[in-house]
């Protein structure tokens, strides 16, 4: 069964703050939920399906559904890190197509900045079977991605300058986002001169640590037709798990090599049709590898692709992350993901900042990478359009 055109994103909302002291995580879930429902022209009482991931406290979706006061016939707690919310859109589209629900709410919220947590995930993996074979070697999140970057450099000649170009493009976009955590333009030299965190990744190769959140409302075609707000059809979805594979991991590719082609096939589109891409940018290397894996350029040519303003809006080869992305704007709950879909919706609605709005943005792609490039990840690709 294809979900092409069977569900629409009718509401999208990103919390405007990047530091949120004195609020609970559930309160931020409620604020972004209200924001997305208002954007869609719907209310809490219209919601019959709710989706959230590991950032939701307590019993996940059950606890937050009760906190919000939702009355539900469908629920989904799928946790794949930063890709969860893109996978939730796929799951919502499937559930809508199957008739299980009509109005699906997806939320993400977290307060890692105010709680003093560093970059990376919460320590919820104490009993994971792999724990004693990975976590006791000082493997920071950054170090894992750094190993992926090092191997990419070794096999394909990718350089730190090329990785820096990704941050430069994101920063050039963030200048136009008054809510972005970092709003200053940066140069390749500034990235290379920033502190080395885990060689070869510098501080400015890393995403920001922000409080915040976001929400989406996915609805059936019947509901979408009744709304005055422009809704965005889901055209293609793809997901894949990539893991260590019995100690035979290849660090130079992501699960996007599987999720991308699946999404393009469902949409009936090719990479050359995409006018704007939200690419998960936990680190610069995440973007470079993902672009190759999604087929925007040949494997190993990502460095060339991102150079000379390749990712800069509005006229680069492939304008990306026009909100400033996780590298500059927002990476709420140390995972982002939902912000990737939100900016793609803005582009398709022609509501991105005029300086970075892509003209005639008919088709957009959003991609999430959850977990770690160096171990296990869930890769989720969505292709969205202006119309079916």
């Amino acid at each position: 069964m294809s979900v092409r055109g069977k569900a629409f994103i009718a509401g999208a909302y990103e919390h405007p703050l990047r530091t949120i002291p004195n609020k609970t995580v559930q309160q931020v879930h409620a604020e972004v939920a209200a924001g997305a429902l208002a954007d869609a022209g719907l209310s809490f009482s219209d919601v019959d399906a709710y989706f959230c991931a590991g950032d939701a406290p307590g019993f996940g979706a059950l606890s937050i559904a009760e906190y919000l006061g939702l009355q539900l016939t469908h629920i989904d707690n799928t946790e794949t890190g930063g890709s969860s919310y893109l996978l939730h859109v796929q799951h919502a589209a499937e559930a809508i197509a199957a008739g299980h629900c009509h109005v699906a709410l997806i939320t993400l919220a977290g307060l890692p900045r105010s709680s003093g947590a560093g970059i990376g995930g919460a320590g919820r993996f104490g009993s994971a079977p792999e724990i004693s074979f990975e976590n006791f070697f000082g493997l920071s999140i950054v170090a894992g991605y750094a190993m992926a970057a090092r191997r990419h450099m070794h096999e394909f000649g990718t350089t730190s300058e090329q990785l820096a170009e990704i941050k430069v493009a994101a920063a050039s976009h963030a200048q136009h986002n008054p809510n972005a955590f970092l709003q200053n333009a940066v140069t390749v030299e500034e990235v290379l001169q920033s502190k080395m965190v885990a060689d070869p990744l510098h501080m400015l190769d890393c995403c920001v640590v922000t409080d915040g959140g976001g929400a989406l409302v996915v609805v059936s075609p019947e509901v979408a037709r009744k709304l005055s707000r422009q809704s965005v059809p889901v055209l293609g979805t793809g997901f894949a798990v990539k893991h260590v594979n019995n100690g035979r991991i290849d660090l130079t590719h992501t699960g996007a090599v599987v999720s991308g082609p699946r999404a393009f096939a469902e949409a009936g589109l090719a990479p050359s049709d995409i006018r704007y891409a939200s690419i998960y940018d936990s680190f610069t290397i995440t973007v470079l590898t993902t672009l190759e894996d999604l087929g925007f350029c040949e494997k190993g040519k990502g460095g060339e692709f991102v150079s000379n303003g390749g990712l800069q809006a509005p006229f680069g080869k492939l304008p990306f992350n026009t909100d400033g992305g996780g590298l500059c704007n927002n990476h709420p709950s140390n995972r982002g993901g939902i912000t990737k879909v939100i900016e793609a919706v803005r582009q398709l609605r022609n509501e991105a900042h005029p300086a970075v709005q892509v003209p005639n943005c008919q088709f957009a792609l959003a991609h999430g990478t959850g977990g770690n490039l160096a171990t296990r990840m869930g890769s989720a690709t969505l292709i969205l359009g202006q119309e079916v």
């Binding site: 560093g118 009993s127 079977p129 792999e130 724990i131 004693s132 074979f133 990975e134 976590n135 006791f136 070697f137 000082g138 493997l139 920071s140 950054v142 170090a143 894992g144 750094a146 190993m147 992926a148 090092r150 191997r151 070794h154 502190k195 080395m196 965190v197 885990a198 060689d199 070869p200 990744l201 260590v244 594979n245 019995n246 100690g247 035979r248 991991i249 660090l251 160096a374």
Partner: protein
């Protein structure tokens, strides 16, 4: 012997022989008697052919560096460790495993560097499998 932190590993019936062997300065890993894969991390099930007929086998402890990163400053108990090297090492017998490279200046570490297992023990029962360059072992 390095000065990187050891940790209280989580042992269970599936992994106990691996940890016991490390204390005896031996690297034991399960090999599947059905498809002959060496299994990493140790477990009671072959993730390649799904057999549960595995046998513990001694590994050579030799390998090469597949990738690495020099971490400038660690977190938590690693905060005072100074720059240290996290790496993936390809064991001669197949698996690519996460580890540290010790006993060699971080700037000397490179991809494809030949390495040899180091059984890093503390004053107590704790032990970790790390690697050092063959020339310095």
């Amino acid at each position: 012997m390095s000065f990187l932190p050891l940790a209280d590993v989580e042992m269970n019936n599936e992994t106990q022989p691996f940890w016991d062997a490390l204390h005896n300065k031996t690297l034991l890993l399960p090999r599947c008697t059905s498809c002959t894969s060496v299994v990493w991390y140790p477990r009671a099930h072959c993730p390649v052919c799904f057999s549960t007929q595995l046998q513990w086998e001694e590994m050579s402890g030799r390998g090469t560096v597949y990738s690495y990163s020099i971490v400038a400053k660690g977190n938590g108990r690693w905060k005072e460790s100074g720059p240290y090297v996290v790496a993936y090492v390809d064991l001669a017998e197949g698996p690519r495993i996460l580890t540290n490279i010790v006993g060699v200046a971080p700037s000397e570490v490179h991809i494809n560097m030949p390495v040899q297992a180091v059984f890093d023990t503390g004053d107590d029962a704790r032990v970790l499998l790390r690697f050092t360059s063959v020339s310095s072992s």
